[in-house]
């Protein structure tokens, strides 16, 4: 088996139960932005929830993108490091430059219902071996061997993409 190049996706859920300061700021500001931006699709104030809007005003699908602006400056504060996800020695080890923000649920009248997800897509990783439950990964996918990390896939983390490196070094999707 040739070495495989993968990217991981961590889907971080932020809702009324989120405890960390960063999460609370994202929660508060995305709800505020949802209230502002949703008026564009709800000019007669007919609907109160995101699901009603999606059902009756298909264009409100754009709210995922429009509301993401309230989260972007907080995402920048992470300095390209995917939060929460650590290797087997407890260190944050995944870097990212791509994300996808989504509104899971929201309600103009009940903030407690507001719930969003930020999907962090890791930069490419080289998957060298599988040792027990752990993947042996290194960050540098460009061929130079970097430091490796042992990592156990956990809930809300997915292998988002996979490429196989053939014997001649070429990458095959």
């Amino acid at each position: 088996m040739g070495t495989r190049i993968i990217t991981l996706c961590y889907r971080k859920i932020i809702d009324a139960r989120s405890q960390k300061e960063w999460e609370k700021l994202v929660f508060e500001d995305t709800w505020k932005e949802f209230k502002m931006q949703s008026q564009l699709f709800n000019q007669e104030n007919r609907y109160t929830t995101f699901s009603q809007l999606l059902l009756h005003v298909p264009a409100s699908e754009k709210l995922h993108f429009l509301v993401s602006a309230a989260a972007v400056n907080y995402i920048k504060q992470l300095n390209n490091k995917i939060p929460d996800i650590v290797n087997n020695i407890g260190k944050i080890f995944l870097s990212f430059s791509k994300f996808y923000f989504e509104i899971i649920n929201s309600d103009l009248q009940h903030k407690s219902v507001h719930s969003v997800a930020i999907n962090f897509y890791s930069d490419p990783l080289r998957w060298h071996e599988t040792i027990g439950d752990y993947l042996l990964l290194s960050a540098d996918a460009d061929g130079i061997e970097g430091q490796t990390s042992l990592y156990k896939i956990q809930p809300f983390v997915n292998i988002h993409s996979l490429q196989k490196e053939q014997n001649d070094g070429a990458i095959k999707r």
Binding site: I14, D29, F65, S97
Partner: protein, 242 residues
């Protein structure tokens, strides 16, 4: 979990509820803990709890309150095109069109090719976060009711005349008006000078045929545009809210 919250969240809550008990039961028999020796909080946020080691790193970076990415005057974000300064004055009809201070003004428009910043068509398509909201901005009116943006002259796309979208809110974020700004298009106009960038003007929808602007007989959506391609253009309009 509060019953009300659970019921309102439906399936989203259900998914998390299934995982949480499993994760907790696992933790009881595991040497890993949720608390680091320095007492810092290491909970991994909703949904990411699992039977793996907890983060053991210095806490940080510390988050600070940050405005929405829309809140900037220069909304160009590296998009190429002729410079355009947009000056919007907000008036209040109920006060004889006197300037409205403290109003929040959002604008957005397409780039030189006619494309908006938005997610691609595919769900879950990832985007680099650095300039994802290009050509979208938010400013608050000053005592003269004025906001100013620096941007590029918009391009055009099939079926529409060149335009800029505007959404005006009061200071607390309640919508006051959603409208669009039209561009003069006669001889000597900036629109003809820009000439649709690389697209040219073949197939262009002029204001009289535009679905939005064709009924604007009084020209309340029509802006004044001065300047040239070398020094940039300047747009001015007064928009009145109820």
């Amino acid at each position: 979990m509060e019953r009300k919250l659970f019921l309102r969240q439906g399936f989203a809550a259900l998914g998390i509820s299934f995982i949480a008990p499993l994760a907790n039961s696992c933790k009881k028999n595991d040497v890993t803990t949720d608390t680091t020796t320095d007492g810092s909080e290491t909970g991994t946020g909703s949904g990411s709890d699992t039977c793996t080691v907890a983060p053991t790193e210095t806490e940080g970076p510390f988050p600070t309150k940050n405005p929405s990415a829309y809140e900037r005057s220069d909304i160009t974000d590296g998009r190429s095109g002729y410079k355009l300064t947009v000056n919007i004055t907000v008036g209040q009809v109920s006060k004889n069109c006197a300037a409205l201070a403290g109003a929040i003004v959002d604008i957005w428009h397409c780039d030189a090719e006619g494309n908006y910043s938005e997610y691609g068509g595919t769900q879950m398509q990832s985007t680099n976060y650095t300039s994802v909201h290009f050509l979208r901005g938010r400013q608050t009116t000053d005592n003269n009711g004025l906001v100013t943006f620096t941007t590029i002259f918009p391009g055009w796309y099939q079926g529409r005349a060149t335009h800029i979208h505007v959404h005006i809110y009061n200071a607390s974020g309640t919508s006051l008006k959603v409208t669009q700004i039209a561009f003069p298009e006669g001889s000597g106009s900036a629109l003809l000078a820009v000439n649709g960038y690389s697209k040219g003007m073949s197939g262009y929808t002029y204001n009289a045929s535009d679905n939005i602007f064709s009924d604007d007989k009084d020209g309340v959506e029509m802006s004044t545009v001065t300047g040239d391609k070398t020094n940039g253009f300047s747009l001015a309009i007064q928009l009145n809210v109820p």
